[in-house]
Symmetry: D2
Subunit: 349 residues, 4 copies
């Protein structure tokens, strides 16, 4: 039995990992930390947890936060984990951070990312970066040797899993990639704002941050590692009136491959990735197929008339795009079966 | 390990019990029966089950359906279970039926119900009725001696759990009850129709069947059993643009009790009912608190100015209102812990 | 051509009257006032108005606000209109206020209301109260002699129009009324908050302010004026995931009338009320029938078994419940046809 | 005053043009025709029209349909208009058809379209084709000389208006176009089906007809007319849980132009198109800005890093994508101001 601390417990990422850990046979929740709901029971903030998690949320400077927990989840914005992860590691904890803080292996690449999105480019714990891993286990095998993982961005998961096979196989032009991504509103977090006020969001959709979305940097980093060339893409983030779910349409120029060949390449690439399901363009698919689950469903297609790859990638942004993937990482970092608590079909409708 | 057969596997009630049984440590699914999706894999009808339940759905006259299963779920309309339940019982199976077929303990009461909703009043297996139980375990303790259970209607669950304490305690006038009930669309089943076509349903709500809803009969039957007098109520069914969830506002005239006294009576009545949570009117509540779960949350209140009871009852119509409650019954009928696979907080948001 | 000033132009009530006035052949918008969006074009706050209303919103202390406008709409919270309406009237303007400030004809009744909802019970302009009118023209004929009108609350409109015929005809027990009301989210205004954040509101519903909703006071006032006795009711406010629309289920004990007699009484009462449509319980009805319009549709029914009136009242909370009704008042106060710009079927789906 | 006949009055396209014509000062509705709702009042099929349009819907073989109407709208599927438009024209009517029947000026091009979507490639009235016009007035000026117009497809409107300026100016590679289009559910019509059953559609999105959407053909036809080369594109149709609205993300390779140059080209191209609003990528935009209106809002952008055009095109699929555009055509065909009844900002929220 290991003990977990969750920093940022009051947000969607925090409640997501809480729900999962409550069902996990090998983990108990030791400490819930949040800035915003300090002093309240977790189940008062999230009434569905009544009777399941009645722990009181503590502030980040509560002495309880300084005890040793086997695993610490930072469900926090950029800049939080990098300030205290070193202390956690020193105490003996393993750390999984949801933000951009540990997604980039060098201070330079972090600076590039931070500049792209207007943050201070100086990483606060550059000494940790050589030992971080980009926590997408389908691309970077995670095991018990890992102590610090940067859990990927939600859009990034959908794009990387949907493009990696094509990039790795060299079947597309790496400068031709377009990712047209639609997310549910939960991706923006729990804090109310005008764009997600119900009357403004029902029956509405829009593109946003056309000038550049932060997840672009990590997709390009990861795909470039698989390619002979620097990968560069056009990325369009859009938000639609759903709560959970990302659907990314991914396009790139092919070098003449047929749809069935491309599907074969994808099946082969992902054959050992238990949370990735590859299907061809004739199979019905929607985000409901993955809602509430850790699966990524890929519909793999080629527009042969235009010699173009088209992949539709479906995930639950709060699961494979966040807490579910974090738990998959945790399972691997502690030697549990990767599917513990995650090998689950969800609930429909 | 017991084996289950699900009749009506292609509907919401069928997929609901399938999802639950897939997680149940003591049950395996032996046979999926449906009229509409015969010959297709369950996971082709419900793609979220891919890899979890790839069984082929068989027709009701497939030889496989005549094997012995320990438990048979009839997720079917009125009139189906009554025709073949006897054969199942004879084979040695236990039967849980979702329809009105086995909710009424005598042929007369069944006839009254059937007349109310325009069905043939002659029950096809009247000899079974003395041994059926109305499957709401909070009112009728279910145990291993039970072999045939009529799982209650979704609205009925919300009303009965929300009114039983007041009726049993004799604190309300049994002729003064009004149940103003709002359901999500899934309560109407999987078959598309005009009223639930997305453009007709989004941003819309309406009352329906004002002339009389079938669940009225069972609520009045069950509450009358608890009362000295015949209970009679005004029932209004309404549908709102949510998928899962029932919220029933229940009103009745009090004999002078204060809100806190009423809350106390409710807490006492439900103290051993693990799936019922009683809270007072000051506690925030919504159907999201029970979504995807087997819980019934009751907000208990009195309008003291008007000497009137007001209870807001929240359930997930597909869980405590259908498949979840059916599994609770199954657990009790086989001596498993009543919460197996059900003691679960759901997922939020 | 008359000139209008809109105070509170940045909210839903403000944009609603703006949209209507833009189409009105006899009115031009002279001044838009708001605290929150000062200095921005109306069409930057509400992009659908681009090219239609590019006026700059001014602050309440801008000199422009002190010019004479023929009509001033206060789309503002309680306490705003009462402070400056006197000055407007003195200048020669007519005033329509959306808040509770001018809904009560005496300082005592205002104090009762204010106490009920926790506001300062001292009205700031008590000298104006004898000349205000409760602006529901179906009950209080409005004409050119009126200079100050308190536009009613949205729930109140749905309840009063749905109960007035029964109360006036003396067919119900005035102590037996229950109003179970469901509103769309726009009723809570434009300011984002947690309860109406999209992920918290989709697939959700809840009751709120069980301790007492402010609209109760005006419903009881208006119905009592029609009755021999003081009317008192139980009121339950609920919010469902729609944007626009109120559906109120209204119940009361009848003295033996049949459904068809009750329908007749309602038809007679409302026969000259062009924006009220009476239908019997056999006619399909939903809030979509009135969305975007100034109509109130009433489904009139009696549960004869329980000797109980049941009326389902449907309005668009932003139209007949707010800006539409305000325009109806304005039309009457200036001698225009009451339906100018309002006699409109809306848009479907 | 002209008289109109609407064939297909029972569908969304029919009710849409009905709503518009009811407000039109120069048109009266003379005849409503439908296969499905024959004998019912229009206002029984669409209750929001009660008191506005209580005409009885007649069957296509009712004698009334053979009278002369000045304008006939065919809101019907492919294959209907081509069978009877000739008779209408002979009688003296002008015809506006919503289907693919008259969108293609030659029998060969029609055959290409019909083959693409699996219809009989033989046009039933090929003699009419030389005199049809593709009814997108922004590209094909429509005037009183026009007697037969093929109203464009909804997706096609969004794509053509969003790509025409770039194609006409020769700034993009005509083989590089990708159109990633998201539509609301009303685009699929009024007939209920499984994919649009509320529980299957809420919180869901999916791509469909990946093998080829029928609107591709007309977009390619229209853009090729503007180009030196044959235009060919990859088209992805997607459906999201909104009722009204299309948002199309349009991509193509630029020849080095900067974003501001591209915006300038678009503004110039559309400067006389009153229903097209061009804005740059810094201006907030969403489909709510055009809901219920005849406007097309274009957000024009260039991803300069990747030398790629990106245009986000927003329309209401039932207005500029269908009935609104049809009325715009009718206005022009009869010499009315093009904005009659259409120059309207819609309603928000």
């Amino acid at each position: 039995m290991i003990k977990a601390k969750i920093v940022g417990a009051g947000g969607y990422g925090g409640v997501g990992i809480t729900e999962l850990l409550l069902k996990h046979p090998e983990v108990e929740i030791g400490c819930l930390v949040s800035l915003s709901d300090t002093g309240r029971k977790m189940s008062d903030v999230f009434p569905h947890l009544r009777g399941f998690c009645d722990e009181v949320i503590v502030s980040p400077d509560d002495p309880k936060t300084r005890e040793l927990y086997d695993v610490v989840f930072y469900s926090t914005p950029d800049g939080v984990g990098m300030k205290s992860a070193a202390a956690e590691l020193e105490r003996g904890a393993k750390v999984i951070d949801y933000s951009g803080d540990f997604r980039f292996g060098t201070a330079d690449r972090y600076a590039e990312y931070a500049n792209f999105i207007g943050l201070d480019p100086v990483h606060k714990s550059p000494e940790l970066l050589p030992n971080t891993e980009y926590g997408l286990p389908e691309l970077h095998p995670i095991d018990e040797s890992h102590r610090l993982v940067g859990n990927p961005g939600c859009f990034a998961v959908s794009c990387i899993l949907g493009l990696a096979p094509a990039v790795a196989a060299g079947i597309i032009d790496p400068k031709s990639i377009i990712a047209d991504c639609k997310t549910g509103v939960s991706g923006a977090g729990k804090k109310p704002n005008a764009a997600f006020h119900y009357p403004n969001r029902y029956d509405n959709m829009n593109a946003y941050r056309l000038a550049g979305h932060q997840h672009t940097v990590e997709v390009e980093q990861e795909l470039s590692l698989l390619s002979q060339e620097q990968v560069q893409m056009t990325f369009t983030a859009q938000v639609v009136p759903v709560c959970r779910g990302i659907m990314s349409s991914l396009y790139a120029s092919l070098h003449g491959q047929k749809a069935n060949e491309v599907v074969e390449i994808y099946r082969e690439y992902h054959k050992n990735n238990r949370f990735v399901r590859v299907q061809d363009a004739g199979t019905p698919a929607s985000i409901a197929d993955v809602r509430g689950t850790n699966y990524c469903n890929l519909t793999v297609d080629a527009d042969e008339r235009n010699n173009r790859l088209r992949v539709i990638s479906h995930i639950d942004n709060l699961m494979k795009g966040q807490a579910g993937n974090a738990l998959q990482n945790m399972n691997l970092m502690f030697g549990f079966d990767s599917g513990t608590t995650l090998a689950n079909p969800g609930q429909y409708p």
